[in-house]
């Protein structure tokens, strides 16, 4: 079981959250096709730290952004997202 630091509730069990995928900024609506292709299909897929979104559904019901390590599965730096999704 992973422990996720929620900026509002503190450290909580993974089972209270649902996974929202990597934090991917969307391009502006008038961006060109290549930018949209990147936004839709590209994946950073790092072997190491990456930012991702989790939804604290069985807690404060807020989206949170965390950094997770894709090998050790350590999760740190819980913070509110910049643009609430």
């Amino acid at each position: 079981m992973l422990i996720i630091p929620c900026p509002w509730c503190g450290e909580r069990d993974e089972s209270e959250f649902s996974y929202g995928g990597p934090a991917r900024p969307l391009p502006s609506l008038d961006a060109d096709a290549a930018a949209w292709r990147r936004a839709l299909y590209s994946c950073d897929n790092p072997m190491g730290w990456r930012e991702e979104l989790w939804f604290h559904g069985f807690g404060c019901r807020q989206w949170v952004v965390v950094r997770r390590h894709t090998v050790s599965q350590k999760i740190v730096d819980g913070r509110p997202p910049e643009n609430p999704s």
Partner: protein
């Protein structure tokens, strides 16, 4: 190197003739090769074998960072089937299945292909409708598949608890007779032995750390054992595909996820076919030794750790206990994980890349073992002739620009939903 035969076996058993030594030793990489294949899993080794045998290209090195078949090839649940829906995947996997029955003879190595049949269970009207549609699509392409009702299912698989008051509803199933299992590490060894016999160098414990380009064309491979010059590179590294592609400046629509499998103590024969349950995914088969092999869906988080959470093993096991109640009293012996390369539409990416001389074989996720012979066959053709084999044309990387996606699951551009 000895040709394996009944005579060879008998002589060895009687202590006549030379004893079998190691099949190949640790090759030291030379400075230059015509083709470098990165990844000594089934796919990379099959590509080497068919390049040498079908196309006369044998100045090849296969570079493996660990040991042969130590990646997903030796970690999968060994299921070989061809029950796809979409044109493109249909033809490719149909052909893939047709290559298995002759593989042992072809390689002079017993890969223990066992066409015991595959059974996919439908638990709702919607699922049954989808399976009927899939069986029709398969039949139109001449690929074997039929729909069976619960009564027939009871006869086919008496161990399944499907009536009269089953714990989970079972409305019918799709049966593919020629599908089954094969011994996964034998597939890697068989291809490796055959490729080696044809002059291919196989280098283990050698990690590729960089790709060298000049004017958008491959010129070499940097490894932990020095630089290797070559103008043709095939990348066949499953969960590490994004990292290798990034070395050539290519950004792939792939994320890496762990998938787990686990196995019980040996039991007497109880399960005939490979059986797939679709209330949440769980698949199960019985090995020749009697162990029950079980697997489920991807771990939900992108991960490069070759292990997963025990929570998911519990989820998969608890689904299967509804179908096979005796499992609740059976002990698990081992669980393990592999890292699967999952694309943004759930289908594989095979063929050339925007970098000259660089070919990619990736995105097989947790269903590419069955594709091993066909992927190697088609990629060898593509590399040797410069023309993309017709069967892998729909699997090109460019589909993520043109929009001609192969989204079998209809899940949209989210890797973790495939």
């Amino acid at each position: 190197m000895a040709h394996y035969s009944f005579l060879h076996l008998t002589a060895a058993a009687l202590g006549l003739g030379p004893r079998s030594g190691p099949v190949f030793g640790g090759a030291v990489p030379r400075r230059r090769y015509d083709v470098a294949i990165i990844g000594g899993g089934g796919h990379g080794l099959a590509t080497a074998h068919y390049l040498a045998r079908e196309h006369g290209v044998s100045d090849i090195v296969v570079i493996e960072k660990g040991w042969l078949g130590g990646g997903n090839t030796g970690r999968n649940t060994t299921i070989v089937r061809a029950d796809y829906l979409l044109p493109g995947n249909l033809e490719f996997f149909g052909h893939a299945l047709s290559m298995w029955p002759d593989l042992s003879r072809d390689l002079n190595f017993n890969v223990m292909f066992s066409p015991r049949g595959y059974l996919d269970l439908a638990h709702s009207d919607a699922q049954l409708d989808l399976f009927i549609r899939r069986a029709n699509m398969l039949s139109l392409k001449g690929i074997q598949a039929r729909i069976v009702d619960p009564q027939t299912l009871r006869d086919l698989e008496p161990a399944l608890d499907i009536g009269p008051k089953p714990p989970v509803p079972v409305l019918g199933g799709l049966v593919q007779a020629g599908a089954g299992t094969a011994r996964h590490d034998a597939v890697a060894w068989g291809y490796a032995r055959s490729a080696h016999r044809q002059g291919v160098d196989i280098v283990q414990n050698c990690e590729v750390t960089g790709l060298k380009l000049e004017h958008e064309h491959i010129v070499g491979v940097e490894t932990s054992r020095g630089m290797i010059e070559t103008d043709t590179v095939v990348v066949s590294v499953a969960g590490h595909s994004s990292r290798l592609a990034a070395m050539a400046g290519i950004d792939l629509p792939i994320e890496t996820y762990a998938v787990q499998a686990f196995v019980s103590e040996p039991l007497k024969p109880v399960l005939n076919r490979v059986t797939n349950m679709n209330i949440g995914l769980a698949y199960v088969s019985q090995t020749d030794k009697g162990e029950i092999v079980m697997g489920g869906s991807l771990e939900p988080l992108a991960s490069y750790a070759q292990r997963g959470s025990v929570v998911r093993i519990g989820e998969t096991a608890s689904r299967l206990v509804h179908l096979l109640p005796f499992l609740s009293r059976v002990r698990l012996m081992r669980a393990w994980g592999g890292i699967a390369d999952v694309t943004a539409d759930g289908s594989a990416i095979v063929g050339p890349t925007p970098v000259g001389g660089l070919y990619l074989n990736a995105g097989w996720g947790y269903s590419g073992f069955k594709a091993t012979p066909a992927a190697g066959w088609c990629l060898a053709h593509t590399v040797a002739t410069g023309e993309v084999h017709p069967l892998i044309r729909p699997l090109g990387l460019e589909r993520f620009t043109t929009g001609a996606l192969l989204d079998e699951g209809g899940a949209g551009p989210y890797t973790w939903l495939h």
